[in-house]
C-alpha cells in the first residue's frame, strides 16, 4: 500500500505537469509545434498550403505507383500516426512500399477564425492533392482519413471523386444520430447560441475545451484509472515509455478554427447534414454517393470515442461498387498504435491497397 501511494503521488505530479504544459501550449497564440517529440520515421516538409503543412515519407523498396495521403484530424498533433518503432502507421505503410504523405495541420491562430470546411477541403486539401499528383506524376492519390480527418477525407472524396483512386476511412465519425456513447447525449446542450458565444468569446474553439471534452468521456480513467494501471503494469517492459508518449499526445490539443467549430457543432453534430445529404461546403452540396472508388471502412470494435454504429453507415451511403467494412478488435487509438493492429490490421490494409493499385481489378476478401 505504501508503495502504491508513493508511486501514485509521483504519477499524479507528472500528470499535473503534463496538464499544465498542455494548457500552456493550447493558450499560446502560435502553437509551439516545435515541441512535438522527435519523429520515429524521417520525413521532409515538401509543401505548405493554407493551414496544411505536407510531410513526405519515402517508400522503402520499390514504391507503389499511387501515393498515399493520410488525412489526420484537426485536433491534437499528428505524431500518433508515427508513434513508436513497430507502432507507427507511417512506418508500417512505407515498409510495405507506399509513398506516404501526411497532413500536418497548422494550428489556427486568432486570425484564422473564418476557416471552415470550405477552407480546409476546397482550398488546403484540394491544393495538396494537386501538388502530390504533380510531384509524383500520378493522376490520383489513395486517401486515408483518421477520425475527424476521415470526415474531411469523405467530404473531399465526394467533391473531387476523380482525384481519389481508393479511399480508406479509419474510425470515421459519420452518423451523429447515434448516441450510444453517453457523453454524446449532451450534444443537444451545445445549442447554436452556445457555439456562437464560444466563438465570440474565444475566436476559435479553445484547446482546453476540446481537452475537457475528451476527459469527460472517461473521467474516472483520466483522473485515477490510468495511473493505477501504470502502477499495476510497471514491471511490463516498455509500458512506461509508451504511457508517457501517449499522455504527451493526449495533452497536445490544438484550437479548432471558429467557423469550423460552428459548422461541426451545428451541421454535423446537431443536424447530421452529411448523412442526410444536406451539407454544403462552399457552394457545393456534398453527396457521398459520388464516392465511387473502392472504399475500406475500418472500425474499432471497442472504440469509445467514435461508436462503431456511427461509422458503419458509410457502407450504405457511398456509391462505390466495391466497398467493405473491416471491424478490428481495438479501441479508437488502438487502431493506430496497438501492436496487434500493426501485426494484423495494417498489413491487411497494405494488401488491400496493393491489389487495387497494381491490377486495377476489384476483389473482395
Amino acid at each position: 500500500m505504501r508503495d502504491l501511494i508513493h508511486h501514485l503521488s509521483d504519477y499524479w505530479l507528472e500528470g499535473t505537469i503534463r496538464a499544465y504544459d498542455g494548457l500552456r501550449r493550447g493558450w499560446s497564440e502560435v502553437f509551439p509545434v516545435q515541441e512535438d517529440p522527435p519523429p520515429t520515421t524521417p520525413f521532409e516538409v515538401v509543401a505548405e498550403h493554407g493551414k496544411l503543412r505536407l510531410r513526405y515519407y519515402r517508400a522503402q523498396g520499390n514504391p507503389q505507383p499511387t501515393p498515399l495521403l493520410l488525412v489526420y484530424a484537426l485536433i491534437k498533433r499528428p505524431f500518433i500516426l508515427d508513434f513508436q518503432p513497430e507502432r507507427s502507421v507511417v512506418e508500417t505503410l512505407t515498409r510495405q512500399g507506399f509513398t506516404v504523405y501526411l497532413t500536418d495541420w497548422i494550428p489556427p491562430t486568432s486570425a484564422d477564425t473564418w476557416r471552415g470546411f470550405d477552407a480546409y477541403v476546397n482550398n488546403d486539401l484540394a491544393q495538396t492533392v494537386q501538388f502530390i499528383c504533380k510531384r509524383e506524376g500520378a493522376d490520383q492519390v489513395s486517401l486515408l482519413g483518421y477520425c475527424l480527418g476521415g470526415l474531411l477525407g469523405s467530404i473531399y472524396t465526394a467533391l473531387y471523386p476523380d482525384t481519389v483512386k481508393q479511399y480508406i476511412a479509419l474510425a470515421l465519425p459519420l452518423d451523429m444520430s447515434v448516441r450510444d456513447i453517453p457523453i454524446s447525449t449532451l450534444v443537444d446542450a451545445l445549442t447554436p447560441e452556445t457555439t456562437a458565444l464560444i466563438t465570440k468569446t474565444y475566436g476559435n474553439c479553445p484547446a482546453w475545451l476540446i481537452h475537457a471534452d475528451f476527459t469527460a468521456m472517461a473521467p474516472v480513467h483520466h483522473t485515477v484509472g490510468k495511473y493505477i494501471d501504470l502502477y499495476r503494469q510497471k514491471a511490463r517492459e516498455g509500458y512506461r515509455e509508451t504511457f508517457d508518449l501517449f499522455e504527451r499526445w493526449m495533452h497536445s490539443d490544438v484550437p479548432l478554427a471558429g467557423r469550423l467549430f460552428q459548422e461541426l457543432s451545428d451541421d454535423i453534430f446537431r443536424h447530421n447534414r452529411l448523412v442526410l445529404g444536406q451539407l454544403h461546403v462552399g457552394e457545393r452540396l456534398v453527396d457521398l454517393r459520388y464516392i465511387r472508388c473502392p472504399v475500406l471502412n475500418i472500425i474499432g470494435e471497442y472504440d469509445d470515442v467514435v461508436h462503431p454504429n456511427s461509422s458503419l453507415p458509410l457502407f450504405d451511403l457511398v456509391g462505390s461498387q466495391e466497398k467493405q467494412n473491416l471491424v478490428f478488435s481495438a479501441g479508437h487509438m488502438g487502431l493506430a498504435v496497438s501492436s496487434a493492429a500493426h501485426k494484423k490490421l495494417w498489413p491487411q490494409v497494405g494488401r488491400w491497397l496493393k491489389e487495387r493499385d497494381n491490377t486495377g481489378t476489384q476483389q473482395l476478401h
Binding site: 449532451l186 446542450a189 493505477i228
Partner: protein
C-alpha cells in the same frame, strides 16, 4: 462501453463484498500468517476494478439524464457571457498598462508575426527561383560541353585568343633577353 443494469448490480455486490467481507478476512489471515499477501492484493484489486466500473457507469448515467443537458444548456451561456465581459474589462485595463511598461499588445505581436511570415514566404519563393536558375544554367553548360567537347565554345574564342596574345606579349622576346 455501456454496462447493463445487471452488470452494475454485480459490480456493486462485488465491491461491497470486497470491502466488508473478503478484504478484512484476507487481511486477518495474512496478519495471523495463515494466508498469503497475494490474496489480500488480489481481493483489493478485484474490489477496485468493480468500483471503477461502477463509478464510470454512474457518470455515464448522469450524462444520459435530461436534467444534465438542461443544466448545461442554461449554465454555459451565462458563464460565457461573464467570460466575455471579463475579457473586455481586462483588455481595457491592461492595454493601457502594457503600453506604460513598454510591452507589445496582442495586435502588435500579431502584425509582427504576419510581417515575418510574409518575409519568409518571399525568401522561400526567391530560393525556389534561384534553384530553378541554377538548374537551368547547369543544364545549359552541360549542353554546351556536349556540343563542342575539344575546342572552346565559339562564344569565348575571342576571349581565349586575347588571353593567348597577352601571354605572348608578356613573354620576353629573344631580343629583349639580349640574345
Amino acid at each position: 462501453m455501456t454496462t447493463t443494469p445487471q452488470r452494475q448490480i454485480n459490480d456493486l455486490l462485488t465491491l461491497t463484498r470486497s470491502v466488508f467481507v473478503d478484504l478484512p478476512l484476507a487481511g486477518i489471515q495474512w496478519g495471523w500468517g495463515i494466508g498469503p499477501e497475494e490474496a489480500v492484493t488480489k481481493t483489493a484489486w478485484k474490489g477496485y476494478d468493480a468500483g471503477v466500473r461502477l463509478a464510470t457507469a454512474a457518470i455515464d448515467n448522469l450524462y444520459r439524464l435530461p436534467l444534465t443537458a438542461e443544466v448545461l444548456t442554461r449554465v454555459a451561456p451565462v458563464l460565457l457571457r461573464w467570460q466575455r465581459i471579463n475579457n473586455a474589462a481586462a483588455g481595457a485595463v491592461f492595454t493601457g498598462l502594457w503600453q506604460t511598461v513598454g510591452l507589445p499588445t496582442t495586435a502588435e505581436a500579431r502584425a509582427l508575426r504576419e510581417a515575418v511570415a510574409c518575409l519568409a514566404a518571399e525568401v522561400r519563393l526567391q530560393r525556389q527561383e534561384n534553384e530553378a536558375l541554377i538548374g537551368l544554367t547547369t543544364r545549359l553548360m552541360q549542353a554546351l560541353d556536349a556540343q563542342t567537347p575539344v575546342t572552346p565554345p565559339s562564344l569565348f574564342n575571342g576571349f581565349v585568343l586575347n588571353e593567348q596574345v597577352l601571354q605572348l606579349k608578356t613573354k620576353p622576346t629573344a631580343h629583349e633577353k639580349g640574345n
